[in-house]
């Protein structure tokens, strides 16, 4: 049992730190949920990619550095400690790319991954539908066979990044009469600017168009944009969902850096008599450390060849609730200033509120923990 990094890993850390010191913008970029901010963040992805820092865990042939999970964690620690911008390419990098590595063809990887790594193509996820959220398999949007490909129809909603993104990925019903709802689904990539696509941005709580609904009217998708076998989309997508809930969505580096910033805020804004608030700051520090160490333990198991599995549900509930508590503490420390919109803390707060809702609601995660980790019987939801 040890937590010390090898000399080579520390050299990797030093290289990342030096690069970030030299390149992280001194003035924060505008919010990535605005058109201007989206463009600025896209340019930042290109800058990262130019020196192969945008996708460190990918193989070198696709623009990565072939970093293992420990080096990925080290990179993320340095990235957030440096105060580097949020990642506008996140959906593609953490959700679609792992699926392509597992299920995509060589041609798909060669075509899709390099422009994803540079930010030239930004991906939106298109999972949810108006009647299919937690019960994702109840989706009704369809893919109908046509010459050389498929015609998509129906509606997707809550599509993160779709307001300004280039392409999207999601599941479509390709066989309407299967006995079970998760059968007969196909995993497809499509162009958000293709004829027949209408994108209607939806303002989140603060009004910014962080997601959108998509109306699809006979949108043509060529066969080459099907991932895995047609009809097998559920199995393909579940590997993506596992990634989403698992290690790659919220790195400990993000929370370690946020807890450090919170402590700085506490030092400048603290009322020494307010021990309740002091305890919440301590809990934020402890929580970030707990999440880091839990992730290192998971990474160790992963390196031993074990799969992450249902423990990713423990991870998801923990970080999503932690993220809200951390930001609430910051806003309470700020007092009247905490009410102001568009500050780093208030924007982070608004973003954190979505955590327990997306990536599989926390109710679904608790069911998974109870049934698969504790062995409790299935019941009516």
């Amino acid at each position: 049992m040890d937590l010390t990094h090898s000399a080579a890993d520390e050299a990797f850390r030093a290289e990342a730190r030096a690069w970030l010191d030299a390149h992280v913008p001194s003035v924060p970029l505008p919010s990535l949920e605005t058109e201007e901010g989206f463009a600025a963040h896209r340019a930042w992805e290109a800058e990262l990619a130019a020196d192969r820092w945008s996708v460190v865990s990918w193989p070198t042939e696709y623009g990565g550095r072939g970093a293992d999970i420990v080096r990925w964690l080290v990179f993320e620690e340095e990235y957030y400690a440096a105060g580097a911008p949020g990642r506008v390419g996140q959906n593609g990098i953490s959700l679609l790319a792992p699926t392509l590595f597992d299920h995509g063809t060589r041609e798909q990887r060669a075509r899709v991954l390099p422009p994803m790594a540079t930010g030239e193509v930004i991906w939106a996820q298109a999972w949810s539908e108006p009647e299919a959220g937690s019960d994702l398999a109840s989706l009704t949007s369809r893919a109908v066979r046509t010459d050389g490909g498929w015609l998509l129809g129906g509606q997707k909603t809550w599509s993160s990044r779709a307001a300004f993104a280039d392409r999207a990925f999601g599941l479509f019903r390709s066989e309407p009469d299967t006995p079970k709802p998760h059968q007969g689904l196909t995993y497809l990539m499509f162009d958000l600017r293709a004829p027949g696509v209408t994108v209607r941005p939806i303002g989140r709580l603060d009004g910014k168009p962080a997601f959108a609904e998509l109306f699809l009217d006979d949108v043509f998708v060529p066969d080459e944009d099907v991932i895995g076998e047609p009809g097998q989309g559920w199995r393909v997508a579940m590997s993506t969902a596992g990634n989403e809930r698992g290690l790659t969505l919220r790195s400990p580096g993000r929370f370690l850096a946020a807890a450090d910033r919170l402590v700085d805020l506490w030092r400048t804004h603290c009322d020494p008599s307010d021990t309740a608030l002091r305890d919440r700051v301590a809990d934020a520090v402890i929580g970030a450390r707990a999440y880091q160490l839990f992730t290192y333990a998971s990474a160790s198991r992963f390196l031993d060849g074990e799969s992450i599995g249902p423990e990713s549900s423990l991870n998801k509930v923990f970080w999503s609730e932690y993220d809200i508590a951390l930001h609430e503490t910051a806003l309470d420390l700020l007092g009247p200033e905490g009410e102001l919109a568009d500050t780093d803390w208030s924007e982070g707060y608004v973003f954190s509120l979505a955590g327990p809702v997306y990536a599989g609601t926390n109710e679904i995660q608790r069911d998974i923990i109870a049934e698969r980790l504790l062995g409790l019987p299935k019941g009516r939801r």
Binding site: P272, L376, P377, G379
Partner: protein, 329 residues
């Protein structure tokens, strides 16, 4: 970086688990609560034979330590089985004695602690000493002086009936004085907090396991109550809290910094206490009875929460351990 217990450490935990499962530990806990130390001390010598107390004691004094990771492994199992007695206190006494600049008191007292021949307890400042009536070595720190107390005052029951509290009597032999005692006491507090955190995590795991087993077999409205989402979600939350306390415990055992140990202590104790509340709720009235074994862990989770540092003290230690300035205001 390999942040996992190795094969030997896991085998050590499994061997302690097997030994304590076969040893009728609940009856030893109940006897201890009644003031009968015989079965508890028999268990004590078996734990000493397994090397548990030697882990905190350096080789120079007949120990095998200091080995904080292995000690944490052992104390999770002791907590899981609810083993009674001044376990944490004996570890803390060992840390205190081996942390002195003068080796005399350590040479004299530690070999018998490592072998299990003697049982220690201690009071830092004005705290109670746990199980002073069962201990052969009663240490007391007052200011910069470390004494071998000549006896103890009346024994008072804790909220956990298997924990019995007393004040050391004044006087007795002065073992050491000066700044070395202050430093050694701080060292002892770290070891006490680490062992308490591990014991609490073990108690929380026992409470969770027993409650999961109970809700699987207890039926109401024709189905196991464990199929109800309201029940499942409480247990899922308990599992989350315990699973995130575990890496803090082992991270603290690796670094042994005051802040890391305090973080592990507050988190493990809060997780165990929250699990106790859930366990009681989901067991219903049977969980509220002294005759049902669940009570042995329910009350311990409460007592450990304030032993060797309240949640507020531990949180203050976490912030106190951060680099940079203290609060500015």
């Amino acid at each position: 970086m390999r942040f996992l217990l190795d094969t030997e450490q896991r085998a050590f935990a499994a061997s302690l688990d097997a030994m304590l499962t076969s040893a009728h530990t609940p009856s030893a806990i109940r006897a201890w609560a009644e003031g009968d130390h015989t079965p508890g001390l028999a268990l004590w010598s078996r734990l000493a034979d397994a090397g548990v107390f030697a882990l905190a004691i350096p080789e120079a004094y007949d120990g095998v330590g200091p080995l904080p990771v292995e000690l944490a492994v052992a104390f999770v199992e002791l907590g899981r089985h609810g083993v009674p007695g001044p376990l944490v206190e004996t570890v803390a006494a060992a840390a205190l004695l081996s942390g002195l600049d003068e080796s005399g008191p350590a040479k004299r007292l530690l070999p018998a602690l490592a072998s299990g021949e003697s049982v220690a307890t201690l009071a830092l400042a004005d705290s109670y000493a746990l199980d002073a009536d069962a201990a052969t070595v009663l240490l007391a720190v007052n200011g910069a002086g470390l004494r071998l107390a000549p006896g103890h005052g009346p024994v008072r029951p804790s909220v956990d009936r298997a924990r019995r509290l007393a004040r050391p009597e004044p006087g007795g032999e002065l073992l050491a004085t000066g700044p070395q005692v202050t430093r050694a006491a701080a060292h002892a507090l770290r070891w006490a907090r680490l062992a308490t955190a591990a014991q609490a995590l073990g108690a929380g795991l026992a409470l969770l396991d027993r409650t999961v087993a109970y809700v699987r077999q207890r039926t109401q409205f024709g189905v196991p109550i464990g199929s109800f989402q309201a029940v499942k979600h409480q247990l899922a939350d308990a599992r989350i809290a315990l699973e995130f306390a575990r890496p803090l415990l082992f991270g603290a055992a690796l670094s042994m910094t005051p802040a890391d140990v305090a973080a592990a202590k507050v988190t493990a104790c809060e997780a165990a206490y929250a699990t106790a509340r859930t366990a009681l709720q989901l067991h219903g009235a049977i969980g509220y009875t002294a005759e049902y074994d669940l009570s042995l862990w329910l009350t311990k989770a409460r007592a450990l929460r304030t032993a060797w540092g309240s949640p507020a003290e531990c949180r203050a230690a976490v912030l106190g351990g951060l680099s940079g300035d203290g609060p500015r205001s």
